[in-house]
């Protein structure tokens, strides 16, 4: 069984060009200023592979996938 995971954005590194939201609109939205809004909680089952791929594509290395906190 795979561990549940979360997508985290580093707001200092992110430049808000919105590539991630363009690639994965089903999971990542943009706020009124063009910065990614990532739903709280775990990455839904089935999306993990895609989310991980998008995280790798972020030009600012602002996205990382982390194991969800236990509990």
């Amino acid at each position: 069984m795979t561990r549940r995971a979360r997508l985290i954005v580093d707001p200092i590194a992110c430049d808000g060009r919105g590539l991630c939201a363009e690639l994965l609109p089903a999971f990542i939205a943009l706020d009124d200023w063009g910065y990614p809004v990532i739903p709280g909680g775990d990455i839904p089952a089935g999306l993990e592979r895609e989310v991980t791929a998008v995280a790798r594509l972020c030009p600012r290395l602002a996205l990382r996938v982390e194991p969800a906190p236990r509990g």
Partner: protein, 430 residues
């Protein structure tokens, strides 16, 4: 030994006409206590060094005292001490006396009048955690007093760990814990988004505590947990320094006990100087509350919770009925937007958008309230530090409390008769 709560005095003599519990005999008001005077008043600083077991026991005493952070978040100090004590390598203790908030004065007053108490606390925290250095980061206004105190101690060979004094960078966000650590390690005074206890990027793991928290720690190490608990409430023991400003007779810094009525707190400052309409409790990240509802409540997190307020950083501002709460909030929101460290998009653009909308509303123009409410949610949790979160909490409380005023403005009217701003939005000069 048990002494009364009145003896829990951090300040030898308080500013601006405050009552003076347990004074330093012979010390002129406003003058820093010398090492000699400090020792005569409080006795020597007991060593907090020794075996791991002894240090654990002393941290346990801090836990039994129930000491919480006085920098705004009221986090249990013992938990932070314990976490740093088990950090892997060289550690540093940082006394946070940045006090970037223009409305707050308690840290400057404490550092100016009782620098040795803060330094005692920082050195004790260093011993408890095994840190190899203590750094006092002080608002420039208190720098001379702290430097003089550290010089006295050096000459007397008083401290077992090196103590360094550093003038703080100016600005509201310079006081955020990771920004203070970054500054103390020789970088910019901007938040890094990394918890100080983890160190990293060339930083040592750090314990960052507000200077008032450390002053309380110094007294707990002398007199014990039950002495500390003789003041305050069961859940919120000890005393708390409060800065009172706005429509009070004698604005200044006062030592209060959690649990006393807010009306009693105002009495410490000579009472209201004009009919109060609303109070901002907890500072610029605090909560606006209607005066009539808050005055009978106890000044404590538990007592204020029905109104969603907390003592926070101990700032209590009284807005007179003649002033406009909406205009005041718009000024604060603009100040906080301007104070963003400029690193995170939602903080930079979101706070600016919120401030602009409030300024328009205050000027009698268009204001899309539902949109402001959505923005307040949108900025929350979206920065590397809690600057947007704190700002959003304060603005959200203003939208509730000044609802009627916002309605008036939308019809081109305003209930205010005075036009000057009440809350300061520039840092006092050093």
């Amino acid at each position: 030994m048990s002494r009364g709560p009145g003896s829990q005095c951090l300040l030898p003599r308080l500013s601006a006409g405050a009552p003076s519990p347990g004074l330093l005999p012979g010390q002129a008001p406003g003058r820093p206590a010398s090492l000699h005077e400090h020792l005569a008043l409080h006795g020597g600083r007991p060593s907090c060094d020794g075996s791991l077991q002894r240090r654990r026991h002393l941290i346990g005493e801090v836990e039994r005292a129930g000491l919480t952070g006085r920098g705004g978040a009221a986090f249990p100090t013992a938990v932070k001490l314990r976490a740093l004590a088990s950090a892997p390598h060289a550690r540093v203790v940082i006394a946070n006396g940045v006090e970037g908030e223009p409305g707050s004065a308690k840290d400057k007053v404490l550092l100016t009048l009782a620098p040795h108490l803060v330094i005692d606390g920082a050195v004790s925290a260093a011993e408890l955690t095994g840190a190899t250095e203590a750094v006092i980061v002080t608002h420039p206004a208190a720098c001379a007093a702290v430097r003089r105190a550290v010089g006295e101690r050096r000459r007397a060979g008083y401290d077992p760990v090196p103590v360094r004094v550093l003038a703080a960078a100016r600005g509201f966000t310079a006081g955020e814990a990771s920004a203070v650590l970054n500054w103390a390690e020789g970088n910019g005074a901007v938040p890094t988004g990394r918890p100080p206890r983890l160190g990293g990027r060339g930083h040592r793991p750090a314990l960052v505590q507000n200077v008032e928290t450390l002053a309380h720690l110094a007294l707990i190490m002398r007199h014990g947990a039950s002495w500390f608990r003789s003041a305050g409430t069961l859940a919120e023991p000890g005393t708390i320094l409060v800065t009172m400003l706005g429509a009070v007779q004698r604005p200044g810094v006062y030592q209060a006990e959690p649990g006393m009525r807010v009306s009693g707190l105002l009495q410490l400052a000579g009472g209201a100087s004009a009919e109060p309409a609303a109070l901002l409790i907890g500072g610029y990240f605090g909560t606006w509350v209607p005066a009539a509802e808050v005055l009978p409540l106890p000044f404590s997190a538990a007592g204020l919770s029905p109104l969603g307020a907390r003592p926070g950083a101990g700032v209590v501002a009284v807005l007179p009925a003649a002033a406009c709460g909406l205009a005041e909030t718009a000024r604060l929101a603009r100040y906080l937007a301007r104070s963003s460290a400029g690193q995170c998009g939602p903080c930079v653009f979101g706070l600016d958008a919120i401030a602009r909308e409030l300024e328009q509303a205050a000027a009698g123009g268009r204001c899309d309230l539902p949109r402001v409410r959505r923005w307040l949610r949108d900025v929350t949790g979206r920065g590397a530090c809690r600057h947007p979160d704190g700002t959003a909490l304060m603005v959200a409380s203003a939208l509730r409390v000044f609802h009627r005023e916002i309605g008036l403005h939308s019809r081109g009217r305003c209930s205010a008769t005075a036009s000057a701003g009440i809350l300061p939005v520039t840092d006092p000069p050093s």
